[in-house]
C-alpha cells in the first residue's frame, strides 16, 4: 500500500478520554486511508467512537496518539476540513445568511468576497429565498442544506459528516444524498461520512469502513464500486452488498444493540 498517495491517512490512532476520573479508550489502533476525491463511509454501532474520530480529523481534539495526516499535515481547526454534525450545528440565533457567512467572517474575508460567495452558494443550494429566515423556520432538509452551504462556502478539500441524514424522512434523505453526490461530482472533494444506514453506506461510500465498538476500531475496509450510481440503487448487486455488510455487522452481534 502506498500511503503517500492517500489524502487522508490514519495509522494506529488511539484516543482516550477521562470520565469521572477514569481513563476510557474511545478509539484503539484505528487504521484508515482515503485517496483524494474519494468518498468513504464509516458504518458501525453507536457509541463506537465514530464522532471522536471525526473530532480528531476536524482538528478539535489534539489529545490523541498515533499518526493522523490530512494532505500530509496534522489536522487543525479552521483549515481545509469542514465538519457537518448530526443536528447540523446551525446557530439558532443567526439567520440562514449569517450562519452561512460565519466561516468567512472568522477567516476575516472581505465584505465583498463574503457577499459574493454567500450569494453563489445559497443560490446553488436553492436557499436564497430563505436567507433571512432563522433555522427554526426551516424544514429538516433545508437545515441540512444550510449546513452544507456553510461548509461549502469555505471551499473545503475534506468534508466530514457525522450521521448527517439520520433525522430526515426517507424521501428528503434520498434527495439530499443525490444532492451530496452531485456536489461531490462537481467539486471532487474528499468526503468521509458516518452512518447507521447500510443502504446509505453502499450508495455513498466508494470505501466502506466497518467499525467495531468499545473501543472503536476499523474491522474491515470494503471497496465498493457501486457508490454514486443512481441506477444501481435497488438492484440485485446493490442489495447483495447491503446484505453482505448487514451480515458482517450482525455476525459481531453488537449492531442491533447499539443501533
Amino acid at each position: 500500500m502506498k500511503m503517500n498517495n492517500d489524502y487522508l491517512s490514519i495509522k494506529s490512532l488511539k484516543v482516550e478520554y477521562m470520565q469521572n476520573g477514569q481513563a476510557l479508550t474511545a478509539l484503539e489502533s484505528v487504521d484508515l486511508s482515503l485517496p483524494q476525491g474519494k468518498t468513504g463511509v464509516i458504518i458501525g454501532p453507536s457509541g463506537c467512537g465514530k464522532s471522536t474520530l471525526l473530532n480528531v480529523l476536524a482538528g478539535l481534539n489534539p489529545r490523541y496518539s498515533g499518526r493522523v495526516m490530512i494532505d500530509g499535515r496534522t489536522p487543525e481547526g479552521g483549515g481545509e476540513t469542514a465538519l457537518i454534525l448530526q443536528d447540523y450545528g446551525l446557530l439558532p440565533w443567526k439567520t440562514v445568511w449569517d450562519n452561512v457567512i460565519l466561516g468567512m467572517q472568522l477567516r476575516k474575508k472581505t465584505h465583498r468576497a463574503t457577499k459574493t460567495a454567500a450569494e453563489a452558494v445559497l443560490d446553488k443550494l436553492g436557499l436564497l429565498p430563505m436567507a433571512r429566515r432563522y433555522p427554526a423556520q426551516l424544514s429538516g432538509g433545508q437545515r441540512q442544506r444550510v449546513a452544507i452551504a456553510r461548509a461549502l462556502i469555505l471551499d473545503p478539500k475534506l468534508l466530514l459528516m457525522d450521521e448527517p441524514f439520520s433525522s430526515l424522512d426517507a424521501l428528503t434523505r434520498e434527495e439530499i444524498q443525490d444532492f451530496l453526490l452531485k456536489i461531490w461530482e462537481e467539486t471532487q472533494l474528499t468526503i468521509l461520512l458516518i452512518t447507521h444506514n447500510i443502504e446509505e453506506a453502499v450508495f455513498l461510500g466508494q470505501k466502506i469502513f466497518i467499525m467495531s465498538p468499545c473501543p472503536g476500531k476499523i474491522e474491515q475496509a470494503v471497496d465498493n464500486i457501486m457508490a454514486g450510481d443512481y441506477n444501481l440503487r435497488g438492484r440485485v448487486q446493490f442489495l447483495e452488498m447491503c446484505s453482505f455488510l448487514r451480515s458482517f455487522l450482525h455476525r459481531r452481534g453488537n449492531y442491533g444493540m447499539g443501533a
Partner: protein, 252 residues
C-alpha cells in the same frame, strides 16, 4: 386595520388588569375604613399633586440608583458568568466561593456599607449591585454551561477561537437567560431600593414613601407607592422590548 387589532390585543388585557386592581383596592379601602388605606381616587389625586411637587426629583434619584446598579451588575456578572460556564474547570474552583456567599442575604451588610462608603449614593448602589450581580451571575453561568455543545463544536470546526466563541455562540446563546435574570434582578433591586432608601437619606422614592408615612399623609404615601410601581413597570416594558429586539430568533 390589522395594527389596530394588534394594538388592542395588547392594551385590552392591560386595561382590564388596571381596572381590576383599582376595584379591588377600592373595595379594600371601603371594607377597612382605615385612613391607612385611602380610596384609589384620593391617592391618584395626591399623585397628580405630588408630580407637580418634589416627587419627580425623588423618582429621578431612585431611577439613577437602579439603572447604575443594574448596569454595573450586568457588566460584571455577564462576562464572569460566560467565562465560568465555558470553562468548567474554573467553575469547579469558583463554585464553593459562589455557593457560600450567594445565600447570605446581602442586605445585612447595609450598616457596614453605610459606615465604610458613607450615606451617599455609593453605598446604596453597591448594595443593589451586589444583590443583582449574584442573580445574573448564576443564571448566566448555568445558561452557558447548558449550551448545546454541538454549537461549540461546529463553530470551532469553522476555525473559531475563544473570542469568536464568546461573540458568536456564548453571548447570543445565553442572551435570553441573561435578560430573564435581569428581569428577576430588577424585581429584587426595586425591593432593596426601598430598603436602602429608608435609611440615612433625604432622597429617593423610598424616602418619599416613608416620609409621607411618618407625616401620616397616607394619600401621599400611596402616591409614592403608585409611582414606584409605575417606574418598575416601565423598566419591565423596556426589558421586554429589548428582549423582543435582541432575541428575535425566539419570537419567530
Amino acid at each position: 386595520m390589522g395594527w389596530v387589532l394588534k394594538k388592542a390585543g395588547k392594551t385590552l388585557p392591560l386595561l382590564s388588569a388596571v381596572i381590576i386592581l383599582l376595584i379591588a383596592w377600592w373595595l379594600l379601602s371601603l371594607g377597612l375604613k382605615s385612613p391607612a388605606v385611602p380610596p384609589p381616587l384620593e391617592a391618584l389625586k395626591s399623585l397628580w399633586r405630588s408630580m407637580q411637587g418634589d416627587l419627580p426629583a425623588h423618582l429621578g434619584v431612585s431611577l439613577y440608583r437602579i439603572l447604575v446598579s443594574l448596569f454595573l451588575a450586568t457588566a460584571m456578572a455577564v462576562p464572569l458568568g460566560l467565562f465560568l460556564g465555558k470553562n468548567p474547570e474554573m467553575d469547579t474552583k469558583a463554585a464553593p466561593l459562589i455557593y457560600l456567599t450567594y445565600p447570605v442575604p446581602k442586605v445585612v451588610f447595609m450598616p457596614i456599607l453605610l459606615i465604610v462608603l458613607g450615606i451617599g449614593d455609593v453605598s446604596k448602589i453597591v448594595l443593589i449591585t451586589l444583590i443583582a450581580f449574584y442573580q445574573i451571575l448564576v443564571t448566566t453561568r448555568d445558561a452557558a454551561k447548558n449550551l448545546d455543545k454541538e454549537y461549540v463544536i461546529s463553530v470551532r470546526s469553522l476555525g473559531a477561537g475563544s473570542w469568536d466563541l464568546y461573540r458568536h455562540v456564548y453571548l447570543p446563546g445565553c442572551l435570553p437567560s441573561i435578560l430573564t435574570s435581569l428581569r428577576l434582578g430588577l424585581g429584587t433591586a426595586m425591593a432593596v431600593l426601598f430598603l436602602v432608601e429608608t435609611y440615612a437619606t433625604q432622597k429617593g422614592i423610598g424616602f418619599f414613601i416613608l416620609d409621607s408615612l411618618s407625616r401620616m399623609n397616607y394619600e401621599e404615601m400611596f402616591a409614592g407607592i403608585i409611582a414606584m410601581g409605575l417606574m418598575g413597570f416601565v423598566l419591565y416594558l423596556l426589558l421586554d422590548k429589548a428582549e423582543k429586539n435582541l432575541c428575535a430568533w425566539i419570537h419567530t
